[in-house]
Each structure stands twice: as structure tokens, then as C-alpha cells.
Amino acid sequence: MISEPALDRLWAMFRAPDLAGTRYELLSELGRGGMGVVYLARDTALDREVALKIVDRVDGGAETARTADTRADAVRALGHEARILAQLEHPGIVPVHDFGELPDGRAYYAMKRVRGDRLDRWLAAGRDVAARLAVFLRVCDAVAFAHAHGVVHRDLKPENVMVGEFGEVLVLDWGIAQLPARVAEGRGGESIAGTPEYMAPEQARGDLEVDHRADVYALGGVLQSMSEGPALAAIARKARAPLPAARYQSVQALAADVQRFLAGRAVGAHRERIVDRLVRVGRRYRLPILLVLTYLAVRMLLLWLARI
């Protein structure tokens, strides 16, 4: 009789990729996604740790026509992701170092090993709103850069953002990212992929017209998960408008409204009451208002002293 932990170990050994013949040495498993598994590995040529994303084994049995097709799709998708990442050189997008095939035929690519926390865990640690929004704006920068290169991420969510030990912010998992041209050709709509909670309605319906505004919608969801107060809620609501035309028309426009909020200015998405406006202006000009009041208090004191 084999115990359950022993079975698990055997299964893990079976699933572990064979890196023989490559420059990588397997260290541990970092995470598992829909398309592949990410392992921590050592690049023996450069003596550094990297993250290896490898297409997962389709099943434990013999290869059938169906599993062969599935694996071919997964290999194609991984290659697609690696090529997209290779085109996007940006400090907020995890860089790809290498792409290749393992002896067992599975495709892999090597990328920078990011040390830090996933955004959802980073947020759970309790951060002030300025720090949270600073991270959000860095995510917006990276996504806007991708959009400028014609790439739509399509699966933005806190779980796909890493916040590094030194404050670096990296957008990960470009596995279902799409070039709008491909979507327009009709190949992008062949399957509905993404995370329902953050997925734009048109993406969920599998429309062909999914463009960069689907990422604006998802970023609205990310903002909603990290913000508080009516102004930020209004920004998130506008970003998550069901109709793409009612959303911010670009990630830059969304980021600009968040920056206006951070600077204590009125945000475009929120019509504030007079009381709210007074409070906001009071906060923004707190120092000069306090100084003028201090001056008046001292001046009154001097006048009173002169009279007695």
C-alpha cells in the first residue's frame, strides 16, 4: 500500500520537467496557471535564478489525438506569449530571456525571476492609499506601453501583478494577450479566456471587437480592489462601464484621473458636492490655510496685548 504523500511525490516527480540538455537546473515550483507551470530554475550558464514557464503535461496517460492537439495548442500559446513579451521591453513588464523546447517536446520560456509579492497579497498587508495608487499607476504605465505596441493583455487582475522587494511593479501572465489585428481577423474570438471578475462584458461575450478598452475595464476592477472613497469609486465605476464607449478611452486617461485625485484636484468621473469640494481644497491647501490662521491668531494676540 502506497501512502498519499508518497503518491503526491511520485506524481510531482512525473510532472516535473526534464531539463537535461538545457542550461537550466530545476529548483522548485513557483506557481501553476491554466496554460503552464512556472518553475524556479538556475541558469547554469549565467549562474542566476530565472523563472521557467513550461507547458504542463496534458494528462498522465498515453498520448491520444486529443491530447496531442491540446498540447500543440498550449505550445503555440506559450510561444505566442513569449514573442509578445519579447516585443515589450518595459520596466513594468517581465522580460523574457530565452525560448525553447525540452527533450520531452514541451515548450518553455525563461524569464526574470521576480522576488516580491503578488499584488493581492501585497494589498492584504495593509498599505496607505497613496502607496496603493502609486502601484496602480505603475501598472497603468506598463499596460499603456503594451497598448502603444498594439498588445491587449486581456487578463489583468491583482494576481497577475508582482510588487518587488524594492518597489518594482511587474505585470505578468501575458498568456492570453492579443494583438488587435488578430482579433479583427477573427482568430481572437475562438475561445473566451480571462477572469470573470475582471473581464469586460464584450470579452465575456466573445465579441470580435475586444480592444484596449477591455484592459481599461479590468484596471477599473483592480482599482476597485485597492481604493476607497467616492472619488476613486467613481473612477473605477467609469472604467468598468458596460459599454466600451462609456469608459475611459485609454489607460492614460484613466491614470490621469487617478493622478488628479492624488494631487487633490477634482476628478473627471466624480461630480462632487460643495462640502466635498471645500474639504478637498482644504486638504490640498492645508499648509497655507493653517499658516494664515496662525498669523491671524498671533496678530489678534498682539492687538489684545497692545490694548491692555
Partner: protein
């Protein structure tokens, strides 16, 4: 808002209030318009000088002391033209300088 503009506006606002406090002194109440205009100009000048100084020197202590010196200097000029009100002229004028000097250093452009 840039430091010189911030300091100038703050100096001007404090100058207006400074002038208006003359309303509490019955013997000069009739000259209130001239006093308010004069003290506003004094506040603006104080703010301009302190604001430009703050763009060159980044030190809260030095900036505040410089503000005190500028405020006291302009107040002294007013005192020369209006002898006999030393406390009412020198103290508020110097205080305006201190406040603007401090605020200009603290303000983030």
C-alpha cells in the same frame, strides 16, 4: 504651483490681512485703503524674494531665518516712514516673513 508663485500669493494674502488689522487702531482707521494697498505690496514683494530664495536654498531653518530678515527689513522701511508704531509694524511684518519663509520651504512644487 511653483515656489515663487506660492510664496508671492501667500505673502499677498497675509499682507491684506496685515493691512486690515489696522481697523483695530482707531487713529489710523481713516487711512485703511492706503494701508491695505501698502501692506499687500509689501507682502507680495516679501513673497517674491523669499520664493526665489527657496528655489536656490533648500533648508527649512535658513529659509525661515531669511524670511524673517526680509519681512523685518520691509517692516523697518515702513517704520521709517511711520515712526511711533514700532511694535504694530515690526512684529507683524517679521511674522509674515517667517511664515512665508517656512511655507516656501515646505511647499512642494
Amino acid at each position: 504651483m511653483k515656489k515663487p508663485l506660492f510664496a508671492t500669493l501667500l505673502g499677498g494674502v497675509l499682507g491684506i490681512f496685515d493691512g486690515l488689522t489696522a481697523l483695530f487702531t482707531p487713529e489710523v482707521r481713516s487711512q485703511i485703503v492706503g494701508i491695505v494697498i501698502g501692506s499687500t505690496i509689501k507682502g507680495l514683494l516679501t513673497g517674491v524674494i523669499i520664493g526665489f530664495f527657496a528655489t536656490r536654498v533648500r533648508s527649512l531653518v535658513v529659509g525661515t531665518i531669511f524670511g524673517l530678515a526680509v519681512g523685518a527689513f520691509f517692516a523697518y522701511l515702513i517704520l521709517l516712514a511711520n515712526p511711533g508704531h514700532a511694535l504694530n509694524i515690526m512684529l507683524p511684518g517679521s511674522l509674515v516673513g517667517v511664515i512665508v519663509g517656512y511655507a516656501a520651504q515646505r511647499h512642494q512644487s
